[in-house]
Symmetry: C2
Subunit: 316 residues, 2 copies
């Protein structure tokens, strides 16, 4: 058994849960997959130790995806107090080599190997050879291109959720002013994240002089129930998402397709076309035809980041 054949540990550390599994090559060992609630642990070391205690063979390698900024062997979790140091963690857990990567990067590495059954294709058009663009919509918002590179993929880090929200007309201007008054800035993430959706609903409630504060889940339920305010919010969300996506597509030219990931993306899957994603996405002036070439899909696999970690280990 070569080192490449021995199982590797893969983990996906989110703001609330950490998923851990063993993988052989690019294949997750389904029976090994576990989910841990971060609040019950003192840190990532403790989570990994709890997982390893149940497995006889200590993996020699691990790749860990984290919702936060990774700099070499260090990571900082954006929405969690945890500091992660790969070297210290390797010592504490006895795993020889631990690679850290941003969770969006892990998703990027997964894209090449995702079966079509885990994708919901939004727009006509087949992906061609070329870069892919992955856009994460969840607790936070981020995006990254995925380039083929040697045996694996190159997914550069980004903080794309924090750019100016692209504005297109009077309703957007009012929203941007409203956000700037409350947040000091009107960023993409301020509107397109889970809490961003709640903000957008609050804005529409104020515009309509009605409605009360709802959380994201309640907004999705109200949309399902046909509530007019929720529909106005959802329609605006989808248009702004389309504007952001079109901008990022012109910056990265993803002939290989655009892929939405994350809980908010999955929740919006049934609504995107209905709320006019297509027409807003291709409303880019002289460059509408170019944007229209890029297919768009939603990744419906909750474990894609783990598969991405496995693909990363295999290629490095």
């Amino acid at each position: 058994m070569t080192e490449r054949d021995s199982p590797v540990l893969v983990a996906d550390v989110g703001g609330t849960n950490t998923r851990v599994a063993l993988a052989r090559g690019r294949t997750l060992v389904a029976a090994s997959t576990e989910r841990f609630r971060n609040a019950e642990f003192s840190g990532l070391d403790a989570v990994l130790q709890a997982f390893l205690d149940r497995h006889r063979n200590r993996p020699e390698r691990a790749a860990i995806a984290l919702a936060g900024r990774v700099q070499g062997t260090q990571a900082e979790m954006t929405n969690l107090g945890w500091q992660v140091d790969a070297g210290a963690m390797a010592k504490a857990t006895g795993i020889g080599h631990i690679a850290l990567l941003n969770d969006l990067q892990a998703q990027g590495h997964a894209l090449a190997h995702l079966p079509d059954t885990h994708l919901r294709r939004l727009r006509a058009g087949q992906p061609e050879e070329g870069p892919k663009l992955v856009i994460g919509l969840g607790t936070g918002v981020n995006a990254a291109p995925v380039y083929a590179a040697g045996a694996g993929h190159f997914v550069p880090p980004a903080e794309a959720g924090h750019i100016h929200l692209p504005l297109h007309g009077a309703e957007d201007y009012r929203l941007a002013d409203w956000l700037t008054k409350r947040r000091g800035f009107a960023s993409v993430e301020d509107v397109l994240s889970g809490s961003g959706l709640e903000r957008l609903y609050a804005f529409h409630a104020q515009e309509a002089h009605s409605g009360t504060a709802l959380n994201a889940e309640q907004i999705m339920a109200a949309m399902e129930a046909g509530d007019a305010l929720a529909h106005a919010t959802g329609r605006h969300y989808v248009r702004l998402l389309a504007q952001v996506t079109a901008d990022l597509a012109l910056i990265t030219l993803p002939a290989g397709g655009v892929y939405f990931i994350g809980g908010v993306a999955r929740a919006f899957a049934p609504w995107l076309e209905r709320f006019g994603f297509e027409s807003a996405f291709t409303d880019m002036g002289r460059f509408s035809d170019l944007v229209a070439r890029f297919p768009v899909a939603i990744v419906e696999d909750d474990y894609a980041a783990l598969s991405g970690c496995a693909a990363y280990v295999q290629a490095h």
Copy 2:
């Protein structure tokens, strides 16, 4: 003499002029550098033939940078009627192998080898290891990250000039509405290109109910002369450029620095700090500190694209 040592032909095809030179390794043969006016030639084949007629040894390899979209061995010049086919051109000129690349990509390849004397550094801070971001401001606007890759660099193509102009406050909203009425869309290039600057001046003339149409050169001269309308235009240009640059910096995280290239960038070099580039660049809400880490410079070398072509040939 190995093939690597024999001179290669490098060319930079702009909308108006084509620059051609021979290079040995990454070094341009200064005496060989020539500039041709495109209007006097039927196509790029004819330009290259005119150049080659003066040189005894036919180069075996060439790299040609073009202001236009390149797809494999084909290119289309954005502001010129020329269609370029590398295969047909190789046959016509007798050069064995011709690589085409976008001019911005060529500039990206040049960055690693530019002497500090060809750079005007705008902001404090030393470039660190990491991606660079090159932003072209000229007849058109575009931007691309530059990633280290093996022996050379990877500079993905982009159409970043055609995204939504990032708007920040009421003056920008009025400008965007004004542009949308005239152009159907308010893109970055609509304001930050050479003709974009002329548009921005016309907008400020209308806001001030005064002034007449000026071309870009006249606007720069009026700025130099202390004209109030030109100053308002210049100040707005610089703020919008800073907003665009900060967005692109959050998307690409250029620890290696941001580099402006092109004629409009060189013309604005003395004005950027004076018109508040720094404060607008770092006005990014919670992410101001991150953006502030990236150094910014202007490339003052008019022949950088030729050097980039030479570097590209050497690495491929």
